[in-house]
Symmetry: C2
Amino acid sequence: MKTVDLALLGFGNVGRAFARLLLEKYEELQRDHGFKPRIVGIATGRHGVCINPQGIKLEELVEAIDSSERLDLNRFNTQTPVIDSYDFIQQVPAQVLCETTPVNPQSGLPALDFLRAGAKRGLHLITANKGPVVFGFRELTELTRQKGKLFRFESAVMDGAPIFSLFRHSLAGAQIRGFYGILNSCTNLLLERMREGESLEQAIAYGASIGITETDPSNDVDGWDAAIKVAALSNVLMGQNLTPKDVNPIGIRGITPQMIQEAEAQGKRWKLLCRGGWENGKFVCSVAPGMVSADSPLYTVDGTSSFVSFELDVLPGLGVLESDPSPKTTAFGLLSDLIDIVRTEQA
Amino acid sequence: MKTVDLALLGFGNVGRAFARLLLEKYEELQRDHGFKPRIVGIATGRHGVCINPQGIKLEELVEAIDSSERLDLNRFNTQTPVIDSYDFIQQVPAQVLCETTPVNPQSGLPALDFLRAGAKRGLHLITANKGPVVFGFRELTELTRQKGKLFRFESAVMDGAPIFSLFRHSLAGAQIRGFYGILNSCTNLLLERMREGESLEQAIAYGASIGITETDPSNDVDGWDAAIKVAALSNVLMGQNLTPKDVNPIGIRGITPQMIQEAEAQGKRWKLLCRGGWENGKFVCSVAPGMVSADSPLYTVDGTSSFVSFELDVLPGLGVLESDPSPKTTAFGLLSDLIDIVRTEQA
């Protein structure tokens, strides 16, 4: 049985959910996919660093996550402690680097630099991070290709719902002309709360209370999270080279409760709409609030669900709806990337 | 450049759309996928049979389809005429048998027998036909496997929208627990017309006028088309061994204009709902009319669009929406199967 050695860079909600999922699917991966995943190192900013060439026991790792004590990964270390994430990337005896550090929508750094270092060392790369996808898709694809390795990032847009792998496999023979959808679940929830009578501030406070909005909600509310996703889809699927600034998003601050009530009276709903595609030979994209009526598939996309519809040369609309995702869903995106890497290597 | 030789069995709307698509994508297939498709034989019930080991010129074939004269395929023949479809399957010098003959929801015959013969001859199999998928999925998978070949059928459910390939690739690491959706576009259109005030009979007459309903609409109206799709999804994705009779469908004849108006007054819509999945350890499935409200993704599925949502262990709901398909969309399903076969062979 083949063993695949993983190095995890970042170990927040997504990294932890990934460790849990590897434990849950440990038998299934051997039975259905012919490999044993093994975590041989984890580097974090706040919980320590560990390298263990024999593999960290998944049960013990998950137990450490679940215990109420402060997580300290150093206890799993069997090597001389490494100094920082770059040392970790150089030293960890892994085949695959799995990156889940926080998103930087301005530059993709430092995640992009971590992945560059991993690629140059000859590791396969998996990331759940939109930053390096937007700012480094071509470069990281080329760097990994030079070493005969792969760069995968299914979780970067719509968590583990298949988007990039869909075009890599099922839609390999189709040409994409454009897309539209709802890609930011936070603003989608806020607009739903406002429809139920709350002000934007009340909705943000509610979002914060359930862990959906951050202390500074502007990344979501002003459209930047949606813009980085539009840039990621445009760059990867449609050959563009956009930054979130190029998308020039308009957020939902201008949407008043009165506007929402007026829309409701017309049987319509406000949504933060994302678009990208060719129009008259020119690539155009946008993130902006818009009203949708009950004949649009966007009308029923509520809560933290998201949706994207692709216009293809062979089909006017192919939509993907992700309903009620959890960190496990994002972790599944990482796992599907890992399976894709293992399959491609075997082929 | 590798050449892939195709034999087409059946040459109605879908087969013809496939020929057009091969012509349209001829350069693209060479550039992006490294092969030249070549049609070396076509067998039909009413338009003749041809075998041409050098390949039928796609331009001439499409011209023959487009010309208003009665299509006669015998003119492309360069071999002693074959007697019937079984002779054709034995003689045609193809690597891939592509079957698009009419569906038989009772037994899958004779398509199933054609595909059995192709498998035994060592051909890869592609079908757009639900019948042999429901009645022969395991057998045809095993027969082709014995010869190192593949059985593919993406177009059998929801035309070219990726369903089966989605589970083969992107969702390979996920476990499916169930599905629900709207799988019969004909009844979906009829219910929409009835919502606009028509009787079922008027709606059927309209459907017939635009070529959506058949002379005998019972296959759609009584739920059999939906039932065969439910059986196909259940058998292929969830290990069941169901026939359409096992699904025991309830069609839409019991839905009156008054019921539709009453639903509308409550903000709801009648749809022909399809379901399958495990409940309390037992596999259950159904096709029956049901009311959906404006918070369901089914609410906005109108016209000839269709939708399916899968419940997965890693995601409560992953929906696939196919908006406004055409015969080209079904042809794309065949093409995506062909690309998958070529890629798997090369790997």
